[in-house]
Symmetry: C5
Subunit: 280 residues, 5 copies
């Protein structure tokens, strides 16, 4: 679970807020922005009790018809919203256009308070980009300590999991796969679920070096039990990893595995906004 250790520079160049004009509801005095301390990326991506909010968007054709100046302003506007909430919400962006029919981009948010992600998204939806986007999926989860392959319950496997870290070139692709398990799964004795998850984990060890993974728990928060998140530079290896997961008995307990599988390239809000407003 080493994804949090790779700190990417999300917002490369912050435009002057003044350039947004007086029409921007979310504008703040520059001093206030400057005073905010960004959330600690490495910390929030490894902590438990953190909320993950994954939402996908499809851009309406009207966005491309806005005058060029409007579209240019749209880029700075969303960066300003990201900046406004930087002390409470970590924002990652995945560009899915060209890989997905249902979306053009995905927002992956982390916050210690789920309401903070709502506050960000309300501001985001009020921007030109957000108001010209249709939400096509929204999943919410929470991070928790390892439930099965822990030091206590499965010491050998736990050691293997932590012995190896990602060592391939920086990930270019991200994949989000929701997982829901059957009533039969949840009604197994915990010892049996542990055994199944050990069978699940063993074949995945060879891929620790080239596929990063992160797990969110969603039971009750959404119509899924888990949100699984992956990053990789090697989609062939990722395919092999998922194929190995298909071949373990635990797969028999899946009632949802994907639907949607969301694949995209790891990007930045600035790049995605420029692409979608055709100002790149």
């Amino acid at each position: 679970m080493s994804i949090g250790t790779s700190v990417r520079c999300l917002v490369l160049t912050l435009p002057a807020v003044a350039s947004l004009g007086s029409g921007t509801a979310n504008a703040q005095p520059a001093a206030a922005i400057a005073a905010k301390t960004p959330i600690d990326r490495a910390k929030i991506l490894t902590a438990t009790g953190v909320f993950g909010n994954f939402s996908t968007y499809r851009v309406r054709p009207e966005l491309a018809k806005l005058p060029l100046a409007e579209r240019r302003a749209a880029v700075g506007e969303v960066l300003s919203v990201v900046d406004k909430h930087k002390d409470s919400v970590l924002v990652d962006v995945v560009l899915t256009r060209g890989f997905e029919a249902q979306s053009d981009y995905l927002l992956r948010l982390h916050a210690n308070d789920l309401a903070a992600t709502q506050a960000f998204l309300i501001d985001f939806r009020a921007t030109r980009l957000g108001s010209h986007s249709e939400v096509t999926e929204n999943l919410v989860g929470i991070t928790k300590p390892l439930g099965y392959i822990s030091k206590d319950k499965s010491p050998a496997l736990n050691a293997s999991l932590t012995a190896v870290t990602y060592s391939a070139e920086p990930p270019r692709y991200a994949v989000v796969i929701p997982v829901k398990k059957s009533a039969e799964w949840w009604n197994l004795p915990e010892t049996q679920r542990l055994k199944e998850l050990e069978s699940h984990t063993s074949p995945t060890l060879p891929f620790l070096v080239n596929v990063k993974r992160k797990l969110y728990h969603s039971t009750g928060l959404d119509d899924t039990d888990f949100i699984t998140y992956f990053e990789t530079a090697d989609l062939g290896a990722f395919h092999s990893l998922l194929l190995s997961l298909a071949k373990v008995p635990e797969n028999r307990y899946h009632v949802r595995w994907g639907n949607p599988t969301v694949l995209g390239t790891i990007s930045t809000m600035e790049h995605v906004a420029k692409i979608l407003t055709a100002t790149n």
Copy 2:
């Protein structure tokens, strides 16, 4: 079932009805409004034979394009409709934008006569906010006395259920989860269903202190058997509660559990209307 005991101030500031102008179809003489006695919140939320009407809405992009004066008037307009029906319909509002793809807000109505909720919603749909909203889900249920874990049938569990009340900080989040059970469930002998529901209830007792719950029966009224409604300030505890419900044998009889699960922040009509009209 202590949700009804927490009286929230729904409408903080009622705008002068006159400010809505002559274009408001639902305007009434101020005297008539003043004369109406609001429905008793604590009573209707604990009584049986009460109808619950849950509907979710997605705002059309056109709302945000109305002139500012129109959008400002839209807020007062919906508050006026809530006030007009306050003697027959209790209106609660949940803000779902940012958590759900299918909706921006949820209306939770209670009335002794289901037709009163229709009358309210017809007026609501004629407002600027309502007419710019698409209904994305609508579920109707009725409250009934405890059918299984009652004083007579399961005295010990019933005592446990009533011994503890919610004692955590005021709930910030609401969750609606529809439930439908299989023909196999309904064809079990009642004694077996009682046994299953005792197994269902026991693991939920620890969460009485931090998760409020309320049940509505929908068989025949909608394509679900139950509407389960929850309020909490602790989404981690709520997740644990739902996980414990997944692990009891009764889960095997679910043919619908969610679809949709609707999560939002407990709000007011005024706040939601301001957020969605961008006049906050």
Copy 3:
């Protein structure tokens, strides 16, 4: 099956056809209209070999934006269409706005010739109300003699069914529930299906006094085997009736029971048209 005996006055006040102006494609000389004999409501609602055509509609937001005069004219226009076809099609209207996400109203048509319902609906769709409505469901069925609980096959139950008639206050609510049964059901020996339907019928006897019911057969005509139609003033009793039907073994053979369940208030074309055009 006593629904047909309750004759409701569908069209209260027929506007002068001349008021529709020359733009109305369906206008007829007043003399021709006056000469038509309305279909016999009591007779067609109890006869066999009659076609029932159930369709639901969601009004497009554009309807509310028509000038007031247009919207006022829209009401008379639909009443005129109902009147034009009154000798061949019986039209009932259910207001579903506020209870259903997929519809605002339901049309329930009866005719001896199914093509007559098509002729009516083609004219209806050409009106202002119809042309601003999206059809969201359309089910067609035919009435037949009792197939199982008949005088010959199940004399005692048949006697019980006919001994009691609806005696509660006039129904206010209507519910439409499509039913489709599995291949296993249809492959049972007829004697077994009779036995199952006797088990199905017995627990419903107590509700003859407060829930009216009518059955249409749809196999081959639509993606359902039956359309079940109910009217009641007591939704709690209706819920209990449907719950009792869930608890009989026949429920195991359902592959569709609802989807959609359509609930509404029994209304008139005039009232529904006024509500939806906001001219009430």
Copy 4:
């Protein structure tokens, strides 16, 4: 399979092509049109190796808002397209408005070369009617010799099938029902499938006199295995036929039977175009 023997006059009155004006992309010199020999209806409807292309359409509301002259021209325009392709594509039209939520009309095309149906539909979609229609379903199949109830394999039943022909009044209604069968069906020994289809065929013999039937094979060409097409003047008899098919064991192997079932009145392109452009 006697449907092909009933030759209906599809296009009653062909408008002068010149009346379409220069804006019609598909206009051809009148001489070229006159020279074309219409496809032989009786022959193509009974031959094997013929492609059937079934597509349904829902008209967009914008069609009705075109100026009257445009709508009038729209009728001749589609007739001209039918005429242009008459030597390679046989066009039948079913009016489904009033019976189906998903469509207003269905096109049933026959051609010896499937690409010819595509050429026709591309021209059709470029007309005013076609460009204001949304395609809601499209199924493609091919006719083949009888696979099971043939002279060789099942001589007695084959004789019964061919001994009786349709003798009722001309059909007024058409029904299209897609059928897909399970892997279990296709993995049965052929002798067992023959036995099942004999059980399927026997109860349908009494309906040869009043329900016409035609079968298209679609495995691999579409998400269905068969397209079954029916014509009748007696919907009650048709309902009984389908009910008898529900009661044979072969029904257990259906994974799709309908979805959609498309019911309509047999019509002509001219009539349907006039109805939908409100120029009738």
Copy 5:
């Protein structure tokens, strides 16, 4: 797997880039274009580790309403985008209008780097044709060496597969069928899966002469395990091939086989663009 050996001339006539005018975001200096070496079609279509990106599109009605000059420019514009990426992405186009309700055309892209297909599609979506198209499906896969019917594991069948090549007239039709297999399939011992795939392969040998096939692996990359792609001039033979695949036991492990099955005619970007802009 001989599809790659049939090199088709994709873009017959490349319009002068200058004709696109200054409004084309993707325009490049002519020299830069001339310098690009097109990807080797035969090589990329037979290599492993290549990514296949299949996307379907439905054209919005607004495209046909653009002025003729705009529509004419739209054709050259997309050809220019194809040319811009010709050194990294191979673009094939299938015309599906008239066969599919959900799409008008399909793009089949091959690239050694999946991100290159995204770059192409982002440029494509910015064109007039692309910006007036709605993406209705998008599947991504990767080519791999034969996993089961290889020289080592199944030498006889492998020899049969490679002994015969396509010898019929050039294919006119293409079909895309996604395939997903159950957890039971993936949990079979590999020897059993090999046995099943031998049973699967044998009946397909007779169709090597008249149906081309190509396989892409998608587990983890999308909500399917495989994308199967076919080309043929003989749809009757193709239907027989798919029917033979339905009859082998392996069919029992399919949880998705189609949904959608996409059928179209093999075309060129120029032809498809002209058809859909009505400038042909």
